[in-house]
């Protein structure tokens, strides 16, 4: 590429009007070539499969016949599908709300302590985010083990009977959400901590002089200043949580029965394990509307942020 650009500098010296025009063309050509690997990668392995999923969803099981919206109609008639819709929404909304709250609270606590200790605490609290989720979920699976659960061992000391963590629909949903909160809250913490640091101290001093209580400082100073980051982080996490696969797959595989299936795990079960690729593609496509809405909001917030700065 260096030898391609070398003649350009020679052209620049000549400062000929028409060759300058050529140079501009050349510059954009080089730029395009440099971005080409990225364009190809996205086109072949992201955009094409995404479009292909729509086509697949309109075929029958053996992929030999076009059935239009047949797969969608089939899904709408199945109770399991509506259970999965409900579980996915419950899972994503509950987990994101708790992750955001825990992240906000923990970020405040870290921000409150002297700055020389902050690094150490931040480092410790971010550990769940660093461990590959499939690996940490194995630890949770072991902690929730039906016969050797270490949590039940503690609870037994308080006279609370063995909790069927993963064996009963309600508890299993609780467990899956809990693990997701555990793994995701540190991300919120780190984002909010970065945002907290960017709030000017003068604002708090002014609020303190005006006699604001701690909750008023949070409500009238911190929250408005962090609004954008809170929104972007929550929306981003909503996408990731809604499309979550690892945690549910390792912890319950969607069980007991189908009580903890999310779109992703159910699509995997239907599409890969049961071999009905079109139906699996149809299931996974139901994630698109929510993802698209969240993505549109994120984009708006990021652009707004870009124009503010």
């Amino acid at each position: 590429m260096a030898d391609v650009t070398a003649p350009n500098s020679a052209v620049l010296v000549q400062s000929n009007r028409s060759s300058l025009h050529k140079l501009m063309q050349r510059k954009s050509t080089i730029a395009f070539l440099m971005a080409l690997p990225l364009i190809l990668l996205i086109a072949i392995l992201v955009v094409y499969p995404a479009g292909y999923a729509i086509w697949l969803s309109m075929l029958n099981k053996s992929m030999s016949k076009f059935v239009g919206f047949g797969n969608f109609e089939f899904l709408f008639k199945r109770q399991t599908f509506w259970d999965v819709v409900f579980q996915s929404c419950l899972f994503a909304i509950t987990a994101v709300i708790f992750k955001a709250m825990i992240g906000f609270v923990v970020a405040h606590f870290v921000h409150n302590i002297p700055s020389k200790g902050q690094r150490k605490w931040r480092g410790m609290l971010l550990v769940p985010w660093v461990i590959p989720p499939a690996m940490s979920t194995l630890a949770w699976l072991w902690l929730f083990d039906p016969s050797y659960s270490a949590f039940n061992w503690i609870l037994a000391h308080f006279g609370i009977g063995p909790v069927p963590w993963l064996g009963e629909a309600g508890w299993a949903r609780f467990a899956v959400i809990l693990v997701n909160i555990w793994a995701g809250a540190p991300f919120f913490m780190i984002m909010y901590l970065a945002a907290l640091k960017s709030v000017p101290d003068q604002l708090y001093e002014a609020a303190a002089i005006d006699g604001a209580a701690w909750w008023q400082r949070i409500w009238y100073v911190t929250l408005p200043m962090m609004r954008n980051i809170i929104a972007i982080t929550a929306l981003f996490s909503l996408i990731v949580t809604f499309a979550n696969f690892d945690i549910t797959r390792v912890l319950t595989s969607g069980g007991p029965l189908t009580a903890t299936h999310l779109f992703a795990t159910w699509a995997f079960k239907v599409g890969i394990e049961s071999g009905d690729i079109p139906l699996g593609a149809t299931v996974s496509l139901f994630m698109v509307p929510i993802l698209a809405v969240a993505a549109a909001f994120i984009l708006r917030d990021i652009n707004k942020r870009g124009s503010e700065v």
């Binding site: 094409y48 302590i113 780190i190």
Partner: protein, 303 residues
Amino acid sequence: MADAAVTAAAPVRPAHYGSMSRDRRWAMRWSYFFLVLFAIFFLTPPLYMLLTSLKTSAEISAATNPWWVFAPTLENYVALLTKNEFLVFFRNSALVSVCVVTVTMVISVLAAFSLARMKFWGSATLATGVFLTYLVPDTLLFIPLFKMFAWFRDLTGIELINHWWTMIILYPTLSVPFATWIMIGYFASIPKELDEAALIDGAGWFQTLTKIFIPVAMPGIIAAMIFSFTVSWAQFLYPLAFTTSSSELLLPVGIVTTLIKGDVFNWGQIMTGALLGAAPPLIIYAFLMDYYVAGLTAGATKG
């Protein structure tokens, strides 16, 4: 910067505002109290992993206190690290991660330079598109990809399913968009005068990139490298969907599928495997925490 100002002001305050410093001291005590509680919540699973990995099978199934190791042993580690199968998983994962990091950095640095500085028709749209691609989850793409691979095999005779190196092709779709996004932010923050000076001195675009942009944006490059390593090491869905035979598995999937055999759970080995699987990202994180955090927060703060 802001917290430095807080601590600088803190020692001065007690003399002037007694009540305020008392409030602050109490706030601090409560902060520590809750931080300890949250640290317990966040660190229990990894610590329990470590505890279990040091136990014998007999101790795991005994009715003793599960939160303590009475007879610590390294036999689980020895058993796993001498098992050929496990070492193959580790090698596959390491090779895939190294290749993915390399591929990701080449693609994303070139693309980010072109999008941030050179511009071409549609480059602004492409930059937005890159960010949107980052939001497309793997769970949406694995089924069509599965079908595309079968179609590719029929066309060229190259089998992509059930090969660990297929992941080198797939993982960049997860790492490149965000890495490019980070790099665009870093490159855009480099003053224009710097590359104009280089151009005047006769440097070509490629030289400007290698001699100026890459050295100046090194922190961003390290952050992007850490990000792509973490993503490719932790990725679970693609290898689970596309590989089956035990010589082709990657570490996370290998541990989950081969160590859990039917109803027989060898928990000592599973926890050891999980801990060893979590070790590389944890070690990198321990040494390069600031870059890690910079990469994490770069997504929403736009450089």
